[in-house]
Amino acid sequence: MTLEILDPTHEGDTSGFALASRLSALEGATVGIISNGKRNTIPFFDAFEDEMKRTYGVAEVVRRIKSNYSAPADKYIVKEAENWDAVVAGIGD
């Protein structure tokens, strides 16, 4: 005699999330970096910002730090990100 059992996982995508469209090039773009604010993000993102500008021609890098590194980005940062061409969500420990 067989046994019928149920799926314990989340089924179906109710989140409504979708990937943003990809950039064809970084040259001239405004790129945001949302940092979790831990100490080691500072030198890492300094170097990252420099590399994006120097090697890829990024026009502007906007750096923002979350108020709580374990929580989603603050609403004002998410709102501001609407004006950026790309966002890097970065963590550092």
């Binding site: 046994l3 059992i5 149920l6 799926d7 314990p8 989140s15 709580n68 374990s70 929580a71 989603p72």
Partner: protein, 351 residues
């Protein structure tokens, strides 16, 4: 049957184990196969329709339904009478101050401590005595396990996926205790959080592993609490300097000394608030001198205020032991208490 979850057919109970293990739908231990009848019995006991929305995980917008909680509760070994406690615990975890995503995803590796109060403890056969922090009875063990399976299966909090814990701790398998209200001279933890005496309730806390201590050589409350404070200060020095909820577990032998001295929750909270604090420069004593900076004389209390100390009466009758349960990361997550069977978002009656 109104259950909407996908169904699978397997040969027998052993095949069911391998089916779930192979999909990473377990915690590594055997599970009870969640059949439709078993799941429906849980929903019937809680008087909830299968599609009842228990809450929404705020970061990924995931709807948490009663049916999915019941499936995981059955897998953990819950009986229908345990299910309302599971619902209340997860409802509490979905409240914003608990910060469920951060707490369960963090490298910090905490587990969800669930503390049960009220008549439900006796109704479902919970024990608050011997081995209370080490799976003292069936009910607390399976309820705590259900929380972990729900996190794994509904929010993908599996090791290496959403769960990024560097170490974690054994409480992740099950971290649920009932308070020893009957032998305690104090109001219950839930009453301290505003829940009426007659109601049953759960309190959830994003918690590190318990740090056990012992002081059998005094009856003075101050000296007993100095031992608790020393353990809290060790956590401030070794782990995290941020203030937040700390829980302390006080078994009967030590409770007797507090009671005889006329000390209740308020006196204990006040003493710990005043004495569990360190100076930032103490970090240099434990190899963290690099982050002391110019703020060496700055004082860091373990508690933002006395009420952040959760006092839990529990443990076996003999022994001058106690335990400190530290927070995941200070104030980032706050302990939340919810009455079992209460609807948090219900409208009051129109008239």
């Amino acid at each position: 049957m109104t259950l909407s979850s996908k169904r699978y057919e397997v040969d027998d109970i052993l095949a069911a184990q391998e089916f779930y293990h192979s999909r990473q739908w377990t915690d590594g231990l055997p599970v009870v196969p969640p059949t439709a009848n078993a799941v429906q019995a849980c929903l019937d006991w809680a008087m909830m329709p299968a599609d009842h929305l228990v809450g929404i995980e705020p970061v990924r917008n995931r709807a948490i339904t009663a049916e999915k909680l019941a499936i995981n509760a059955i897998m953990a070994g819950c009986l229908p009478m345990h299910f309302p406690v599971v619902i209340a615990a997860f409802t509490a975890m979905l409240q914003e101050p608990f910060l469920v995503h951060g707490a369960t995803a963090s490298t910090g590796g905490c587990a969800v401590l669930v503390v049960i109060n009220g008549p439900v403890r006796e109704e479902v056969g919970m024990s608050s005595s011997f081995n209370v922090l080490g799976s003292s009875d069936r009910a607390t063990t399976v309820i705590g396990r259900a929380i972990r399976l729900i996190l794994c299966n509904l929010l993908d909090v599996r090791p290496g996926q959403i769960d990024r814990s560097t170490l974690g701790h054994p409480g992740k398998l099950s971290y649920c205790i009932a308070e020893d209200e009957d032998n305690s001279p104090w109001n219950s933890l839930a009453e301290d959080q505003g829940v009426p005496h007659e109601a049953s309730a759960v309190t959830v806390m994003a918690a590190g592993a318990p740090r056990q201590l012992m002081n059998e050589w005094t009856t003075k409350p101050e000296e007993i609490l100095d031992t608790f404070c020393a353990e809290i200060k060790a956590n401030l020095r070794h782990y995290s300097i941020y203030p937040g909820n700390y829980a302390i577990v006080i078994p009967p032998q030590l409770r007797t000394h507090f009671d005889e001295a006329g000390w209740g929750r308020k006196e204990i909270q006040q003493y710990v608030f005043e004495n569990a604090r360190i100076l930032r420069r103490e970090w240099a004593d434990v190899g963290k001198g690099a982050v002391v900076g110019r703020r060496g004389d700055q004082e860091y209390p373990a508690l933002p205020d006395p009420e952040h100390l959760l006092i839990i009466a529990a443990g076996g009758p003999a022994g001058g032991f106690g335990a400190v349960i530290p927070p995941w990361l200070g104030h980032k997550s706050k302990a939340v208490t919810v009455a079992i069977g209460a609807c948090l978002d219900c409208e009051p009656p129109a008239n």
